[in-house]
Protein backbone atom coordinates (compact mmCIF):
# COMPACT_ATOMS: atom_id res chain seq x y z
CA UNK A 1 0.00 0.00 0.00
CA UNK A 2 2.69 2.47 1.08
CA UNK A 3 4.96 1.24 -1.70
CA UNK A 4 2.27 1.90 -4.32
CA UNK A 5 1.59 5.33 -2.88
CA UNK A 6 5.30 6.18 -2.92
CA UNK A 7 5.55 4.94 -6.50
CA UNK A 8 2.65 7.19 -7.50
CA UNK A 9 4.02 10.41 -6.01
CA UNK A 10 7.75 9.74 -6.62
CA UNK A 11 7.82 11.20 -10.18
CA UNK A 12 6.19 14.38 -8.93
CA UNK A 13 8.77 14.70 -6.13
CA UNK A 14 11.65 14.04 -8.56
CA UNK A 15 10.49 16.88 -10.80
CA UNK A 16 9.33 19.35 -8.15
CA UNK A 17 12.12 19.07 -5.56
CA UNK A 18 14.97 20.43 -7.77
CA UNK A 19 12.85 23.46 -8.70
CA UNK A 20 12.06 24.06 -5.02
CA UNK A 21 15.77 23.66 -4.24
CA UNK A 22 16.65 26.27 -6.88
CA UNK A 23 14.09 28.65 -5.41
CA UNK A 24 15.42 28.00 -1.90
CA UNK A 25 18.98 28.68 -3.05
CA UNK A 26 17.96 32.06 -4.44
CA UNK A 27 15.58 33.19 -1.71
CA UNK A 28 17.16 32.00 1.53
CA UNK A 29 20.00 33.84 3.21
CA UNK A 30 22.60 33.21 4.52
CA UNK A 31 24.14 30.90 1.95
CA UNK A 32 24.87 28.23 4.56
CA UNK A 33 21.14 27.77 5.29
CA UNK A 34 20.27 27.88 1.58
CA UNK A 35 22.82 25.16 0.92
CA UNK A 36 21.46 22.95 3.75
CA UNK A 37 17.85 23.31 2.51
CA UNK A 38 18.72 22.73 -1.14
CA UNK A 39 20.93 19.76 -0.23
CA UNK A 40 18.05 18.22 1.75
CA UNK A 41 15.77 18.66 -1.26
CA UNK A 42 18.43 17.12 -3.51
CA UNK A 43 18.62 14.11 -1.18
CA UNK A 44 14.81 13.86 -1.31
CA UNK A 45 14.99 13.87 -5.12
CA UNK A 46 17.54 11.05 -5.11
CA UNK A 47 15.51 9.01 -2.62
CA UNK A 48 12.29 9.50 -4.61
CA UNK A 49 14.03 8.47 -7.85
CA UNK A 50 14.63 5.03 -6.32
CA UNK A 51 10.86 4.54 -5.90
CA UNK A 52 9.84 5.48 -9.45
CA UNK A 53 8.06 2.58 -11.13
CA UNK A 54 6.82 2.19 -14.73
CA UNK A 55 3.51 3.92 -15.38
CA UNK A 56 2.02 7.35 -16.02
CA UNK A 57 3.74 10.42 -14.57
CA UNK A 58 2.40 13.93 -13.88
CA UNK A 59 1.99 16.57 -16.60
CA UNK A 60 1.53 14.00 -19.39
CA UNK A 61 5.01 12.51 -18.92
CA UNK A 62 5.67 8.76 -18.87
CA UNK A 63 7.87 6.27 -17.01
CA UNK A 64 9.18 3.11 -18.65
CA UNK A 65 12.02 0.69 -17.80
CA UNK A 66 14.57 3.02 -19.41
CA UNK A 67 13.45 5.83 -17.13
CA UNK A 68 13.63 3.45 -14.16
CA UNK A 69 17.35 2.76 -14.74
CA UNK A 70 18.23 6.28 -15.88
CA UNK A 71 16.57 8.20 -13.07
CA UNK A 72 18.47 6.76 -10.07
CA UNK A 73 21.81 7.36 -11.80
CA UNK A 74 20.86 10.90 -12.84
CA UNK A 75 19.37 11.64 -9.43
CA UNK A 76 22.15 10.23 -7.23
CA UNK A 77 24.92 11.76 -9.37
CA UNK A 78 23.12 15.10 -9.46
CA UNK A 79 22.44 14.99 -5.73
CA UNK A 80 26.08 14.59 -4.74
CA UNK A 81 27.09 17.26 -7.28
CA UNK A 82 24.59 19.67 -5.72
CA UNK A 83 25.84 18.92 -2.21
CA UNK A 84 29.41 19.47 -3.42
CA UNK A 85 28.16 22.75 -4.86
CA UNK A 86 28.35 24.15 -1.34
CA UNK A 87 32.13 24.33 -1.69
CA UNK A 88 32.49 24.65 -5.47
CA UNK A 89 29.99 27.51 -5.90
CA UNK A 90 31.76 29.53 -3.22
CA UNK A 91 35.24 28.75 -4.50
CA UNK A 92 34.68 29.42 -8.22
CA UNK A 93 32.01 32.09 -8.25
CA UNK A 94 32.18 35.78 -7.61
CA UNK A 95 31.39 36.86 -4.05
CA UNK A 96 27.62 36.85 -3.70
CA UNK A 97 27.05 34.67 -6.76
CA UNK A 98 27.22 31.34 -4.93
CA UNK A 99 23.43 31.24 -4.46
CA UNK A 100 22.87 31.87 -8.17
CA UNK A 101 25.34 29.11 -9.05
CA UNK A 102 23.55 26.67 -6.77
CA UNK A 103 20.16 27.63 -8.25
CA UNK A 104 21.43 27.24 -11.83
CA UNK A 105 22.86 23.84 -10.97
CA UNK A 106 19.51 22.67 -9.60
CA UNK A 107 17.64 24.02 -12.64
CA UNK A 108 20.01 22.29 -15.04
CA UNK A 109 19.63 19.07 -13.07
CA UNK A 110 15.84 19.47 -13.29
CA UNK A 111 16.14 19.77 -17.07
CA UNK A 112 18.09 16.55 -17.46
CA UNK A 113 15.82 14.68 -15.01
CA UNK A 114 12.76 15.85 -16.93
CA UNK A 115 14.27 14.71 -20.23
CA UNK A 116 14.36 11.16 -18.84
CA UNK A 117 10.56 11.37 -18.35
CA UNK A 118 9.80 12.90 -21.75
CA UNK A 119 7.07 11.11 -23.66
CA UNK A 120 7.66 12.86 -26.98
CA UNK A 121 10.38 14.82 -28.77
CA UNK A 122 9.02 18.31 -28.10
CA UNK A 123 8.82 17.76 -24.35
CA UNK A 124 12.31 16.24 -24.41
CA UNK A 125 13.66 19.25 -26.31
CA UNK A 126 12.12 21.68 -23.81
CA UNK A 127 13.80 19.89 -20.90
CA UNK A 128 17.11 19.53 -22.76
CA UNK A 129 17.23 23.28 -23.44
CA UNK A 130 16.75 23.98 -19.73
CA UNK A 131 19.52 21.47 -18.99
CA UNK A 132 22.24 22.83 -21.26
CA UNK A 133 21.37 26.50 -20.84
CA UNK A 134 21.67 26.14 -17.08
CA UNK A 135 25.07 24.53 -17.55
CA UNK A 136 26.28 27.34 -19.83
CA UNK A 137 25.30 29.98 -17.30
CA UNK A 138 26.78 27.95 -14.46
CA UNK A 139 30.10 27.59 -16.29
CA UNK A 140 30.26 31.35 -16.81
CA UNK A 141 29.93 31.92 -13.07
CA UNK A 142 33.32 30.26 -12.68
CA UNK A 143 34.97 33.34 -14.21
CA UNK A 144 35.99 34.65 -10.81
CA UNK A 145 38.49 31.81 -10.46
CA UNK A 146 39.44 31.59 -14.15
CA UNK A 147 38.36 34.18 -16.71
CA UNK A 148 38.63 31.61 -19.51
CA UNK A 149 35.36 30.25 -18.08
CA UNK A 150 33.60 33.02 -20.01
CA UNK A 151 34.88 31.98 -23.44
CA UNK A 152 34.33 28.31 -22.67
CA UNK A 153 30.75 29.04 -21.57
CA UNK A 154 30.09 30.99 -24.78
CA UNK A 155 31.49 28.15 -26.84
CA UNK A 156 29.32 25.64 -24.95
CA UNK A 157 26.32 27.88 -25.51
CA UNK A 158 26.84 28.13 -29.27
CA UNK A 159 27.47 24.40 -29.79
CA UNK A 160 24.55 23.32 -27.62
CA UNK A 161 22.19 25.88 -29.18
CA UNK A 162 23.03 24.52 -32.64
CA UNK A 163 22.61 20.97 -31.35
CA UNK A 164 19.16 21.94 -30.06
CA UNK A 165 18.30 23.33 -33.49
CA UNK A 166 19.26 19.98 -35.02
CA UNK A 167 16.88 18.33 -32.53
CA UNK A 168 14.05 20.75 -33.37
CA UNK A 169 14.39 20.27 -37.11
CA UNK A 170 14.78 16.53 -36.67
CA UNK A 171 11.53 16.44 -34.68
CA UNK A 172 9.79 18.56 -37.34
CA UNK A 173 10.98 16.25 -40.14
CA UNK A 174 9.84 13.27 -38.10
CA UNK A 175 6.41 14.84 -37.73
CA UNK A 176 6.32 15.71 -41.42
CA UNK A 177 6.88 12.07 -42.31
CA UNK A 178 4.80 10.34 -39.64
CA UNK A 179 2.28 12.89 -38.39
CA UNK A 180 3.51 12.37 -34.83
CA UNK A 181 6.40 13.40 -32.59
CA UNK A 182 6.28 10.12 -30.66
CA UNK A 183 9.05 7.68 -31.61
CA UNK A 184 6.59 4.79 -31.29
CA UNK A 185 4.80 6.12 -34.41
CA UNK A 186 7.75 5.09 -36.54
CA UNK A 187 6.62 1.51 -37.16
CA UNK A 188 3.15 2.65 -38.22
CA UNK A 189 4.44 5.14 -40.74
CA UNK A 190 7.64 3.50 -41.94
CA UNK A 191 7.42 3.01 -45.67
CA UNK A 192 9.66 3.48 -48.65
CA UNK A 193 7.98 6.85 -49.35
CA UNK A 194 8.95 8.33 -46.01
CA UNK A 195 12.08 6.31 -45.25
CA UNK A 196 14.54 8.94 -46.43
CA UNK A 197 12.78 11.76 -44.56
CA UNK A 198 12.75 9.61 -41.43
CA UNK A 199 16.41 8.78 -41.84
CA UNK A 200 17.26 12.48 -42.17
CA UNK A 201 15.15 13.19 -39.09
CA UNK A 202 16.87 10.46 -37.07
CA UNK A 203 20.30 11.59 -38.34
CA UNK A 204 19.65 15.15 -37.14
CA UNK A 205 18.33 13.90 -33.80
CA UNK A 206 21.37 11.69 -33.33
CA UNK A 207 23.83 14.44 -34.33
CA UNK A 208 22.20 16.90 -31.93
CA UNK A 209 22.19 14.45 -29.04
CA UNK A 210 25.73 13.25 -29.77
CA UNK A 211 26.95 16.87 -29.67
CA UNK A 212 25.20 17.39 -26.32
CA UNK A 213 26.69 14.15 -24.97
CA UNK A 214 30.22 15.19 -25.98
CA UNK A 215 30.78 12.56 -28.67
CA UNK A 216 33.88 13.33 -30.79
CA UNK A 217 34.21 15.03 -33.27
CA UNK A 218 31.03 16.94 -32.33
CA UNK A 219 32.46 17.98 -28.96
CA UNK A 220 34.36 21.15 -29.85
CA UNK A 221 32.98 22.71 -26.67
CA UNK A 222 33.94 19.92 -24.28
CA UNK A 223 37.64 20.32 -23.46
CA UNK A 224 37.52 24.07 -22.68
CA UNK A 225 34.23 23.62 -20.85
CA UNK A 226 35.63 20.94 -18.54
CA UNK A 227 39.04 22.58 -18.28
CA UNK A 228 38.12 26.22 -17.69
CA UNK A 229 34.38 26.30 -16.88
CA UNK A 230 33.26 26.20 -13.28
CA UNK A 231 34.06 22.95 -11.50
CA UNK A 232 30.43 22.37 -10.60
CA UNK A 233 29.39 22.81 -14.25
CA UNK A 234 31.98 20.25 -15.39
CA UNK A 235 30.85 17.73 -12.78
CA UNK A 236 27.18 18.13 -13.68
CA UNK A 237 27.84 17.90 -17.42
CA UNK A 238 29.99 14.78 -17.10
CA UNK A 239 27.77 12.80 -14.75
CA UNK A 240 24.29 14.13 -15.52
CA UNK A 241 24.23 16.08 -18.81
CA UNK A 242 26.13 13.55 -20.90
CA UNK A 243 24.17 10.69 -19.34
CA UNK A 244 20.80 12.37 -20.02
CA UNK A 245 21.70 13.06 -23.66
CA UNK A 246 22.87 9.46 -24.15
CA UNK A 247 19.60 8.09 -22.72
CA UNK A 248 17.66 10.13 -25.29
CA UNK A 249 20.10 9.04 -27.98
CA UNK A 250 19.38 5.43 -27.05
CA UNK A 251 15.67 6.04 -27.52
CA UNK A 252 16.23 7.50 -31.00
CA UNK A 253 18.59 4.67 -31.97
CA UNK A 254 15.97 2.19 -30.76
CA UNK A 255 13.30 3.73 -32.97
CA UNK A 256 15.50 2.97 -35.97
CA UNK A 257 14.99 -0.72 -35.29
CA UNK A 258 11.53 -0.20 -36.76
CA UNK A 259 13.06 -0.43 -40.20
CA UNK A 260 13.96 -4.07 -39.56
CA UNK A 261 15.95 -5.51 -42.41
CA UNK A 262 15.83 -2.37 -44.48
CA UNK A 263 19.25 -1.76 -46.06
CA UNK A 264 19.09 1.94 -45.23
CA UNK A 265 18.54 1.16 -41.55
CA UNK A 266 21.49 -1.24 -41.49
CA UNK A 267 23.67 1.37 -43.16
CA UNK A 268 22.55 3.85 -40.55
CA UNK A 269 23.43 1.49 -37.73
CA UNK A 270 26.90 0.99 -39.22
CA UNK A 271 27.23 4.77 -39.49
CA UNK A 272 26.28 5.16 -35.83
CA UNK A 273 28.82 2.52 -34.83
CA UNK A 274 31.38 4.27 -37.06
CA UNK A 275 30.78 7.57 -35.26
CA UNK A 276 31.19 5.69 -32.00
CA UNK A 277 34.47 4.14 -33.16
CA UNK A 278 35.77 7.55 -34.28
CA UNK A 279 34.85 8.97 -30.89
CA UNK A 280 36.62 6.11 -29.10
CA UNK A 281 39.82 6.51 -31.12
CA UNK A 282 39.86 10.33 -31.18
CA UNK A 283 38.94 10.67 -27.52
CA UNK A 284 41.55 8.13 -26.46
CA UNK A 285 44.35 9.77 -28.44
CA UNK A 286 43.47 13.23 -27.14
CA UNK A 287 43.18 11.95 -23.56
CA UNK A 288 46.65 10.43 -23.75
CA UNK A 289 48.10 13.80 -24.75
CA UNK A 290 46.09 15.91 -22.29
CA UNK A 291 48.05 18.15 -19.89
CA UNK A 292 45.13 19.00 -17.67
CA UNK A 293 43.17 16.42 -15.66
CA UNK A 294 39.79 18.00 -16.38
CA UNK A 295 40.46 18.28 -20.10
CA UNK A 296 41.56 14.64 -19.95
CA UNK A 297 38.10 13.82 -18.57
CA UNK A 298 36.44 15.57 -21.53
CA UNK A 299 38.37 13.38 -23.98
CA UNK A 300 37.93 10.23 -21.89
CA UNK A 301 34.21 10.98 -21.74
CA UNK A 302 34.12 11.11 -25.54
CA UNK A 303 35.79 7.69 -25.67
CA UNK A 304 33.26 6.25 -23.21
CA UNK A 305 30.34 7.78 -25.11
CA UNK A 306 31.70 6.27 -28.32
CA UNK A 307 31.61 2.82 -26.77
CA UNK A 308 27.97 3.36 -25.76
CA UNK A 309 27.11 4.44 -29.31
CA UNK A 310 28.61 1.21 -30.63
CA UNK A 311 26.47 -0.82 -28.22
CA UNK A 312 23.32 1.07 -29.27
CA UNK A 313 24.18 0.52 -32.94
CA UNK A 314 24.37 -3.24 -32.46
CA UNK A 315 20.74 -3.03 -31.32
CA UNK A 316 18.56 -5.70 -29.76
CA UNK A 317 17.99 -6.20 -26.07
CA UNK A 318 21.64 -7.13 -25.44
CA UNK A 319 23.08 -4.10 -27.20
CA UNK A 320 20.83 -1.56 -25.54
CA UNK A 321 21.21 -3.22 -22.13
CA UNK A 322 25.01 -3.14 -22.51
CA UNK A 323 24.85 0.54 -23.48
CA UNK A 324 22.68 1.47 -20.49
CA UNK A 325 24.85 -0.65 -18.19
CA UNK A 326 28.01 1.09 -19.36
CA UNK A 327 26.41 4.51 -19.05
CA UNK A 328 26.06 4.00 -15.29
CA UNK A 329 29.71 2.93 -15.06
CA UNK A 330 30.94 5.87 -17.15
CA UNK A 331 28.95 8.27 -14.99
CA UNK A 332 30.55 6.77 -11.84
CA UNK A 333 34.06 7.06 -13.38
CA UNK A 334 33.51 10.71 -14.27
CA UNK A 335 32.19 11.44 -10.79
CA UNK A 336 35.29 9.81 -9.32
CA UNK A 337 37.90 11.54 -11.47
CA UNK A 338 36.27 14.97 -11.75
CA UNK A 339 35.08 14.83 -8.15
CA UNK A 340 38.60 13.99 -7.05
CA UNK A 341 40.29 16.78 -8.96
CA UNK A 342 37.61 19.27 -7.94
CA UNK A 343 39.50 19.50 -4.65
CA UNK A 344 42.33 21.13 -6.62
CA UNK A 345 42.10 24.78 -7.71
CA UNK A 346 40.21 26.08 -10.75
CA UNK A 347 42.98 24.67 -12.92
CA UNK A 348 44.01 21.02 -12.63
CA UNK A 349 47.35 20.51 -14.43
CA UNK A 350 48.70 16.96 -14.29
CA UNK A 351 51.63 18.22 -12.18
CA UNK A 352 49.10 19.14 -9.49
CA UNK A 353 48.35 15.46 -8.94
CA UNK A 354 51.81 14.73 -7.52
CA UNK A 355 51.24 13.45 -4.01
CA UNK A 356 47.56 14.30 -4.26
CA UNK A 357 46.53 10.97 -2.69
CA UNK A 358 48.46 11.88 0.47
CA UNK A 359 47.30 15.48 0.65
CA UNK A 360 43.62 14.57 0.19
CA UNK A 361 43.14 10.85 0.93
CA UNK A 362 39.39 10.60 0.22
CA UNK A 363 39.53 12.69 -2.95
CA UNK A 364 42.62 10.74 -4.01
CA UNK A 365 40.80 7.44 -3.45
CA UNK A 366 37.81 8.64 -5.51
CA UNK A 367 40.16 9.73 -8.30
CA UNK A 368 41.99 6.40 -8.14
CA UNK A 369 38.75 4.41 -8.35
CA UNK A 370 37.56 6.59 -11.23
CA UNK A 371 40.84 6.15 -13.09
CA UNK A 372 40.77 2.38 -12.49
CA UNK A 373 37.24 2.39 -13.85
CA UNK A 374 38.33 4.20 -17.01
CA UNK A 375 40.99 1.50 -17.41
CA UNK A 376 38.31 -1.19 -16.83
CA UNK A 377 40.42 -2.77 -14.10
CA UNK A 378 39.07 -6.04 -12.63
CA UNK A 379 36.74 -5.66 -9.60
CA UNK A 380 35.44 -2.33 -10.89
CA UNK A 381 31.99 -1.82 -12.36
CA UNK A 382 33.54 -0.71 -15.65
CA UNK A 383 35.25 -4.09 -16.04
CA UNK A 384 31.84 -5.80 -16.12
CA UNK A 385 30.23 -3.20 -18.35
CA UNK A 386 33.14 -3.20 -20.83
CA UNK A 387 32.80 -6.99 -21.00
CA UNK A 388 29.12 -6.63 -21.94
CA UNK A 389 29.96 -4.03 -24.57
CA UNK A 390 32.43 -6.33 -26.27
CA UNK A 391 29.91 -9.18 -26.08
CA UNK A 392 27.25 -7.09 -27.80
CA UNK A 393 29.64 -6.11 -30.60
CA UNK A 394 30.71 -9.74 -31.09
CA UNK A 395 27.08 -10.89 -31.06
CA UNK A 396 26.43 -8.56 -33.99
CA UNK A 397 29.61 -9.93 -35.64
CA UNK A 398 31.06 -6.45 -35.78
CA UNK A 399 34.67 -7.42 -35.14
CA UNK A 400 35.94 -3.95 -35.97
CA UNK A 401 33.59 -2.40 -33.38
CA UNK A 402 34.78 -4.87 -30.74
CA UNK A 403 38.34 -4.00 -31.79
CA UNK A 404 37.63 -0.28 -31.31
CA UNK A 405 36.32 -0.95 -27.79
CA UNK A 406 39.39 -3.04 -26.96
CA UNK A 407 41.74 -0.38 -28.38
CA UNK A 408 39.88 2.25 -26.38
CA UNK A 409 40.29 0.14 -23.23
CA UNK A 410 44.01 -0.32 -23.87
CA UNK A 411 44.45 3.40 -24.47
CA UNK A 412 42.61 4.01 -21.21
CA UNK A 413 45.37 2.12 -19.42
CA UNK A 414 47.71 4.84 -20.72
CA UNK A 415 45.74 7.90 -19.68
CA UNK A 416 44.27 6.28 -16.57
CA UNK A 417 47.83 5.42 -15.59
CA UNK A 418 48.83 9.06 -16.02
CA UNK A 419 46.19 9.96 -13.48
CA UNK A 420 47.10 7.16 -11.08
CA UNK A 421 50.90 7.22 -11.17
CA UNK A 422 51.53 10.55 -9.43
CA UNK A 423 48.86 10.03 -6.77
CA UNK A 424 50.75 7.84 -4.32
CA UNK A 425 54.16 7.28 -5.84
CA UNK A 426 55.39 10.75 -5.01
CA UNK A 427 55.65 12.64 -1.79
CA UNK A 428 52.98 15.32 -1.40
CA UNK A 429 53.03 18.78 0.10
CA UNK A 430 50.99 20.23 2.94
CA UNK A 431 47.27 19.64 2.93
CA UNK A 432 44.99 22.64 2.52
CA UNK A 433 41.54 21.95 3.99
CA UNK A 434 38.97 24.73 3.70
CA UNK A 435 36.02 24.01 5.98
CA UNK A 436 33.53 23.88 3.10
CA UNK A 437 35.52 21.22 1.29
CA UNK A 438 33.86 18.56 3.45
CA UNK A 439 30.73 19.06 1.33
CA UNK A 440 32.49 17.22 -1.53
CA UNK A 441 32.95 14.12 0.65
CA UNK A 442 29.56 12.54 -0.21
CA UNK A 443 30.48 12.77 -3.88
CA UNK A 444 33.75 10.95 -3.27
CA UNK A 445 32.05 8.27 -1.17
CA UNK A 446 29.35 7.65 -3.80
CA UNK A 447 31.97 7.48 -6.57
CA UNK A 448 34.02 4.93 -4.63
CA UNK A 449 30.94 2.89 -3.66
CA UNK A 450 29.64 2.87 -7.23
CA UNK A 451 32.99 2.04 -8.79
CA UNK A 452 34.03 -0.74 -6.43
CA UNK A 453 30.82 -1.78 -4.62
CA UNK A 454 28.85 -2.32 -7.80
CA UNK A 455 31.91 -3.95 -9.33
CA UNK A 456 31.66 -6.68 -6.72
CA UNK A 457 27.94 -7.20 -7.20
CA UNK A 458 26.27 -5.54 -10.17
CA UNK A 459 23.44 -8.04 -10.59
CA UNK A 460 20.68 -5.58 -9.62
CA UNK A 461 22.04 -2.90 -11.94
CA UNK A 462 22.42 -5.40 -14.78
CA UNK A 463 18.85 -6.64 -14.33
CA UNK A 464 17.60 -3.04 -14.49
CA UNK A 465 19.71 -2.47 -17.61
CA UNK A 466 18.30 -5.63 -19.16
CA UNK A 467 14.74 -4.45 -18.51
CA UNK A 468 15.62 -1.08 -20.08
CA UNK A 469 17.33 -2.83 -22.99
CA UNK A 470 14.25 -4.98 -23.53
CA UNK A 471 12.08 -1.86 -23.82
CA UNK A 472 14.48 -0.22 -26.29
CA UNK A 473 15.20 -3.41 -28.21
CA UNK A 474 11.49 -4.04 -28.71
CA UNK A 475 10.62 -0.48 -29.73
CA UNK A 476 8.50 -0.98 -32.84
Amino acid sequence: MIGAWLGAIAPMIVLAAPVCAAAAAMLITPFRVAWIVSSALAALTAAAALYVTPGPAPFGLAVDAVTVIALPVLAVAGCVCMIAGGHLARADGEPGAASAALALGHLSWFGWLGAAFASDMIVALAFVVIGWMGLSALAALGAHANRAALTSALRHLVWCALASLALAIGAALFFNATGSVDGAALSLAASSATARTLMLACALLLIGLAALAGVAPLNGWAAPFYGAGGRMAGLLQASVGAFGALVLLGRVAASLEAFGEDALARAFAVGLAGLGAISVITGSIQAIGARDARRLCAHAGAAQAGMILIAFATGGTGGFAAGLFHMAAASACMLGVLGGVSVLDARAPMEGLVGFGRRAPLAGAALAVGALGLMAAPLTLSFLTRWRLIESALAAQWWWAAGAIIIGSLAAVGYGGRLLAPLYLSRGGESDRPAWRVSIAPLHIVAIAAGIGLGLNASALWRAAERGGAVLGMTP
Binding site: I122, M133, A143, A148, L157, A172, A189
Partner: protein
Amino acid sequence: MGVLSPSPALFAMGVIILAAGAFAALVIGNGVKRTMALLAAHIGAAVLVAVLGGSALAGLAVLTLAAGVGATMLAAALTARIEEAYGGAETHALGLIDERADHNGAAT
Protein backbone atom coordinates in the same frame (compact mmCIF):
# COMPACT_ATOMS: atom_id res chain seq x y z
CA MET B 1 8.54 15.00 -49.07
CA GLY B 2 6.43 13.21 -46.54
CA VAL B 3 2.91 13.28 -45.13
CA LEU B 4 2.76 17.09 -45.36
CA SER B 5 3.95 19.13 -48.35
CA PRO B 6 5.95 22.17 -47.26
CA SER B 7 6.14 25.35 -49.29
CA PRO B 8 9.41 25.14 -51.30
CA ALA B 9 10.17 28.86 -51.16
CA LEU B 10 9.69 29.14 -47.41
CA PHE B 11 11.55 25.88 -46.91
CA ALA B 12 14.52 27.15 -48.92
CA MET B 13 14.48 30.46 -47.04
CA GLY B 14 14.51 28.67 -43.70
CA VAL B 15 17.37 26.42 -44.76
CA ILE B 16 19.46 29.35 -46.02
CA ILE B 17 18.93 31.48 -42.90
CA LEU B 18 19.62 28.52 -40.63
CA ALA B 19 22.74 27.39 -42.48
CA ALA B 20 24.19 30.89 -42.73
CA GLY B 21 23.44 31.66 -39.09
CA ALA B 22 24.82 28.35 -37.81
CA PHE B 23 28.00 28.64 -39.89
CA ALA B 24 28.57 32.22 -38.80
CA ALA B 25 27.92 31.39 -35.13
CA LEU B 26 30.59 28.71 -35.30
CA VAL B 27 33.33 30.63 -37.12
CA ILE B 28 32.88 34.37 -36.42
CA GLY B 29 35.21 35.65 -33.74
CA ASN B 30 33.41 38.84 -32.77
CA GLY B 31 31.07 38.13 -29.87
CA VAL B 32 28.39 40.63 -30.91
CA LYS B 33 28.19 39.34 -34.48
CA ARG B 34 28.27 35.79 -33.18
CA THR B 35 25.28 36.51 -30.95
CA MET B 36 23.30 37.93 -33.85
CA ALA B 37 24.21 34.91 -36.00
CA LEU B 38 22.91 32.64 -33.26
CA LEU B 39 19.60 34.50 -33.20
CA ALA B 40 19.38 34.28 -37.01
CA ALA B 41 19.97 30.53 -36.88
CA HIS B 42 17.10 30.14 -34.41
CA ILE B 43 14.78 32.24 -36.57
CA GLY B 44 15.67 30.12 -39.61
CA ALA B 45 15.04 26.93 -37.63
CA ALA B 46 11.68 28.23 -36.37
CA VAL B 47 10.66 29.00 -39.97
CA LEU B 48 11.69 25.48 -41.01
CA VAL B 49 9.74 23.91 -38.14
CA ALA B 50 6.65 25.95 -39.01
CA VAL B 51 6.94 25.03 -42.70
CA LEU B 52 7.44 21.33 -41.98
CA GLY B 53 4.82 20.95 -39.26
CA GLY B 54 2.25 23.66 -39.94
CA SER B 55 -0.06 24.65 -37.12
CA ALA B 56 0.37 21.25 -35.45
CA LEU B 57 3.98 22.12 -34.58
CA ALA B 58 3.31 25.73 -33.59
CA GLY B 59 4.39 24.80 -30.06
CA LEU B 60 7.77 23.54 -31.29
CA ALA B 61 8.26 26.67 -33.42
CA VAL B 62 7.51 28.88 -30.42
CA LEU B 63 9.82 26.77 -28.25
CA THR B 64 12.60 27.15 -30.84
CA LEU B 65 12.13 30.92 -30.87
CA ALA B 66 12.00 31.08 -27.07
CA ALA B 67 15.19 29.04 -26.83
CA GLY B 68 16.73 31.41 -29.39
CA VAL B 69 15.79 34.46 -27.34
CA GLY B 70 17.16 32.85 -24.19
CA ALA B 71 20.40 31.78 -25.89
CA THR B 72 20.82 35.23 -27.45
CA MET B 73 20.34 37.01 -24.13
CA LEU B 74 22.82 34.69 -22.43
CA ALA B 75 25.32 35.05 -25.28
CA ALA B 76 24.98 38.84 -25.13
CA ALA B 77 25.60 38.83 -21.38
CA LEU B 78 28.63 36.58 -21.84
CA THR B 79 29.97 38.81 -24.61
CA ALA B 80 29.68 41.85 -22.35
CA ARG B 81 31.56 40.02 -19.59
CA ILE B 82 34.21 38.86 -22.07
CA GLU B 83 34.71 42.45 -23.24
CA GLU B 84 35.12 43.46 -19.62
CA ALA B 85 37.60 40.68 -18.84
CA TYR B 86 39.63 40.68 -22.06
CA GLY B 87 39.26 44.29 -23.16
CA GLY B 88 37.37 43.51 -26.37
CA ALA B 89 34.71 41.33 -27.93
CA GLU B 90 37.15 39.74 -30.39
CA THR B 91 37.33 36.30 -28.83
CA HIS B 92 38.61 33.81 -31.31
CA ALA B 93 35.68 31.63 -32.32
CA LEU B 94 37.68 28.46 -31.83
CA GLY B 95 38.91 29.73 -28.48
CA LEU B 96 42.52 28.84 -29.24
CA ILE B 97 44.09 32.26 -28.80
CA ASP B 98 42.38 33.03 -25.49
CA GLU B 99 43.03 29.60 -24.06
CA ARG B 100 46.73 29.66 -24.94
CA ALA B 101 47.08 33.15 -23.50
CA ASP B 102 45.35 32.08 -20.31
CA HIS B 103 47.23 28.83 -20.14
CA ASN B 104 50.59 30.53 -20.33
CA GLY B 105 49.54 33.23 -17.93
CA ALA B 106 50.53 35.82 -20.53
CA ALA B 107 47.24 37.65 -20.59
CA THR B 108 46.12 37.25 -17.02
